[in-house]
């Protein structure tokens, strides 16, 4: 971002159980209501109590593309946070801490320590999370915001807990605000307020809301981080929206129940992470064979196996490409950010309904658990719904063949319950009428016909999927290629490289299948230096790109430590690659979380 633009990052650090989420939510709402853009990333661990959590909220006056490279205000709720991050706090930064419990270390020049005597300020409150409220008040002062804004937000957030709780919190927040105003130097530029209000959502909310807007009537899940947010949204809102929500005994049951519901005629969806997705894979193949449209979401976390359950990775590309035995058609899409995730759900439902096949969404922890601002006018809650050749209330004609071999390959579909259309769908290969060919006699001609029919219908519909386009300057020195959630951070890195005199553009891949071989080949044909950026060790995407197009990237920037890229990781990688012809650059994670 250019220097004159507002770009400020607040980080709140503490242990699990210290109540970091609440001040984080309050600040996010305040920023978004005032029209500021927001990108937040919560670095946490798979721990019930203790450990270290660092919630980073980056605000700006235009779209924020990543959680950024530096922290401007560090709120230390415990000593551990101070010890871990103080050394990273540079000139102009502020460090807010409870001076009763936390001892600061040596600061770098220009970093301002902001001690708060919590016991005195809170009137010796016994409330263990009172320091959070004090910190909120002090933060408002440091950011140059009116206290009234916080008072209103606390009133709304705590309304359910009663007037006494609201009063106590407002009083303590006020004390924090006044203390900061009297003792600390605020940031030089106050945060602007009063612009058009923005909404706040997590990527999982966006996926769930996208489902609701697309007409999902059945949602099933088994709890698994980082996908559980979709289940929680659905459980919270399902009844009022007429969506059936089921928590099922395992992901095998989830996927099969979803398919059963979809066959009966509803739009059905489920979400999980890599381990649960592994259990779903056989069912996904069955949806392809029975020609039942349904959407399966895999929110990637660091693997293999249980892996690092609360950390991010783009390590499941190969898994989704290879999900289920056999040779079959399915869509695979990796949204670029939360808004794109929202838009992708109805888009994918239309495609799978038209092609009568499964569709897979590849999200990741970064998108799904991050919290972002979004312009409410950009969220289309009434997207077009196209159910393809699903016939509702059809009239019988006496000779219905579920898998009729049409020119397009698409066979009119009728859900059970309609008179005169009785048929059987089977996971065994079958003929046009649905009769098993494996049972009667295995007929190579029918087998070939049905394989080709399914392939043809997919090709018919897949032709409508938009191809990726190069973003940024033409004839750039470097072309950065990635898929899914790296879109924003790569875009920001490219802008920063431009400031350094290195021209970089980006080819961001959203559609994994269908993969636009011609468009990608053309886009990369004139590229001076292709650098693939991905969040894994083995270069799954680079291999896929080579396999599909024959294009071998010149260099790679890879990260597989559980933490997402920030812009300088990519900027440094490009510098290194240009200077030393480095083949694979692996950035070091500085913020230890």
């Amino acid at each position: 971002m250019a220097k004159k633009e507002l770009d400020l990052t607040i980080a709140i650090g503490g242990a699990a159980g210290q109540g970091i989420a609440t001040p984080g939510n309050v600040l996010a709402r305040i920023f978004a209501r005032g029209g500021l853009h927001l990108y937040s990333y919560n670095a946490h661990q798979s721990i019930i109590r203790g450990g270290h959590i660092l919630l980073m909220l980056r605000v700006g006056d235009r779209e924020v593309l990543s959680h950024g490279d530096r922290i401007d205000l560090l709120v230390c709720l415990n000593q551990d946070t101070m010890d871990r991050h103080l050394r990273l706090m540079g000139e102009g930064s502020r460090i807010l801490f409870n001076s009763d419990d936390v001892v600061p270390g040596a600061t770098r020049p220009g970093a301002q320590l902001c001690p708060m005597p919590v016991k005195t300020l809170s009137g010796n409150s016994k409330n263990k999370v009172i320091q959070n409220t004090l910190s909120l008040g002090a933060t408002m002062s440091l950011l140059g915001l009116d206290f009234a804004v916080l008072e209103e937000a606390l009133g709304q957030l705590l309304a359910k807990k009663g007037e006494d709780v609201v009063r106590e919190n407002v009083t303590v927040a006020r004390a924090g605000y006044d203390h900061a105003s009297a003792h600390f130097e605020p940031f030089p530029t106050p945060l602007p307020q009063g612009k058009k209000p923005l909404a706040v959502w997590a990527g999982n909310d966006a996926l769930a809301l996208g489902g609701a807007a697309a007409g999902v009537k059945f949602y099933a899940a088994y709890p698994m981080s980082p996908a559980s947010g979709v289940l929680h949204w659905m459980a919270q809102n399902g009844r009022s929206l007429g969506i059936m929500v089921r928590q099922v005994e395992d992901e095998i049951g989830v996927a099969n129940m979803t398919i059963g519901a979809a066959h009966a005629g509803v739009r059905a969806m489920c979400a999980t992470s890599g381990g649960g997705f592994a259990l779903m894979t056989e069912a996904i193949g069955s949806a392809a064979m029975m020609e039942i449209p349904a959407v399966f979401i895999n929110v990637m976390r660091a693997g293999p196996s249980t892996g690092v359950p609360t950390k991010t990775e783009q390590g499941d590309l190969r898994q989704v490409l290879g999900a289920s035995q056999g040779d079959f058609e399915r869509f695979i899409v990796a949204p670029k950010n939360a808004l794109d995730a929202f838009d992708t759900v109805p888009e994918l439902f239309n495609l799978v309904d038209r092609a009568q096949c499964p569709g897979i969404i590849l999200s990741d922890l970064l998108i799904s658990e991050g919290t972002f601002s979004v312009d409410p006018d950009a969220v289309d809650l009434h997207p077009s719904i196209d159910r393809g050749a699903l016939l509702l209330d059809p009239s019988p004609n006496g000779d219905y063949h579920r898998y009729a071999d049409t020119e397009s390959g698409i066979s009119p579909r009728v859900a059970p319950g309609a008179e005169g259309f009785v048929h059987v769908v089977a996971t065994d290969e079958h003929d046009e009428a649905g009769v098993l060919i494996s049972d009667e006699f295995t007929n190579p001609l029918i087998r070939r016909q049905m394989v080709e029919k399914r392939a043809r219908k997919f090709e018919t519909i897949a032709a409508d999927v938009p191809a990726p386009e190069l973003e940024g300057p033409k004839n750039a020195d470097v072309t950065l290629v990635g898929f899914g959630s790296t879109y924003g951070v790569v875009k920001e890195a490219a802008l920063r490289l431009a400031e350094e005199g290195v021209s970089a553009n980006q080819l961001a891949i959203k559609w994994i299948v269908p993969f636009h071989v011609d468009a990608v080949t053309k886009a990369l044909a004139g590229a001076k230096r292709i650098v693939v950026v991905e969040n894994n060790y083995t270069g799954q995407f680079a291999q896929y790109l080579r396999g599909e197009t024959g294009i071998t990237a010149h260099a790679h920037i890879r990260k597989y430590d559980g933490e997402p890229f920030t812009p300088h990781h990519i900027v440094e990688g490009v510098r290194e690659i240009l200077a030393r012809e480095t083949a694979v650059f692996v950035p070091t994670q500085e913020v230890m979380v």
Partner: protein
């Protein structure tokens, strides 16, 4: 077939089949001659006929195995799903269209082995499904290995020196886990079996009907004579199916006397589909309008602001 040809079709008026033969599917069963599954298929077709259920009101869902080929032999909507997965698929279908009569069919390996987890959970949900398990105590389609209901020391291709494992008891398992209609039939007594199936379909809740359906090819231990000599109908002994303790005792009997009939029935517990709020006074989910109303959209957006 195109949309155009469908649109010019003539309308058939709903009518009840006049003969049980109308429930026959497009193809003849490929089961071995003498297979117990024929008796189950006939009993199911007769039960549907006698209950006046029209083919399009039925959805038969199976897994994989010899007996799971059954949907193809019925004139009814059918789903021949994955091995062990008929119950979750059927649950999804029933919840999406609760006006359908959904019947699951399969074998002991499918239902009690690979799909065993789903049976326990489907039972506790008490969803309105009828589950008919053709229990032949053997894996037949894979040419003869032990199943979850094979007896201790049984010699099969996978246990040539005899099995070291004891069989599970599907009836007590189902009762303990919350099934509200638990019965056992014998394909050698089709009249009795037909009544049990009719009872299961009529019952509101999860019904398990375990059926002794001998495999005449791969299980010579548990053949027709074995069962004929032993089966005793609970109805003849005046068993009270509301008494779960006696039901479990009777279900544990495995000697000279093996009971068939209705072991347990409870009408006290509500069904999942009956409890589910989004189905109350509403058409099936599959018939409801898609997407958000303007009011819903407004509320959701407001909550994010």
């Amino acid at each position: 077939m195109s949309h155009a040809t469908l649109a010019t079709a003539t309308l058939e008026l709903p009518r009840t089949p006049s003969s049980v033969k109308e429930y026959r599917g497009r193809v003849e069963p490929d089961w071995c001659p003498g297979c117990g599954d024929f008796g189950v298929l006939n009993a199911l077709q007769r039960a549907c006929f006698e209950l006046g259920l029209q083919p399009h009101q039925l959805l038969i869902v199976s897994g994989i195995g010899c007996s799971s080929n059954l949907p193809g032999y019925m004139n009814a909507y059918g789903m021949h799903t994955l091995h062990g997965r008929s119950l979750p698929v059927a649950t999804g279908a029933k919840l999406a269209n609760h006006e359908l009569n959904v019947i699951c069919t399969g074998g002991d390996g499918d239902g009690y082995g690979i799909g065993g987890n789903h049976l326990m959970h489907t039972a506790r949900r008490n969803i309105d499904l009828t589950y008919i398990v053709m229990d032949n105590q053997i894996y037949g389609l894979t040419t003869g290995q032990i199943s979850p209901t094979s007896r201790f020391d049984m010699k099969t291709k996978s246990t040539p020196q005899g099995s070291l494992e004891w069989p599970l008891n599907p009836l007590t398992s189902a009762i303990m886990n919350g099934a509200t209609y638990v019965a056992r039939g014998f394909s050698g007594d089709p009249k009795h079996l037909t009544e049990l199936i009719k009872g299961g379909i009529r019952h509101r809740g999860f019904a398990l009907i375990d059926v002794f359906s001998p495999c005449v090819t791969f299980n010579l231990d548990n053949d027709y004579p074995f069962f004929k000599e032993r089966v005793t109908k609970l109805e003849d002994e005046g068993h009270d199916p509301s008494d779960w303790k006696t039901a479990c005792e009777k279900a544990m009997a495995w000697g000279d006397t093996i009971y068939t009939g209705l072991f347990f029935r409870s009408t006290d517990r509500p069904t999942l589909d009956g409890l589910e709020p989004v189905l109350q006074n509403a058409p099936p989910l599959a018939r409801q309008p898609l997407g958000l109303t303007a009011e819903q959209a407004k509320t959701l957006m407001k909550r994010m602001m």
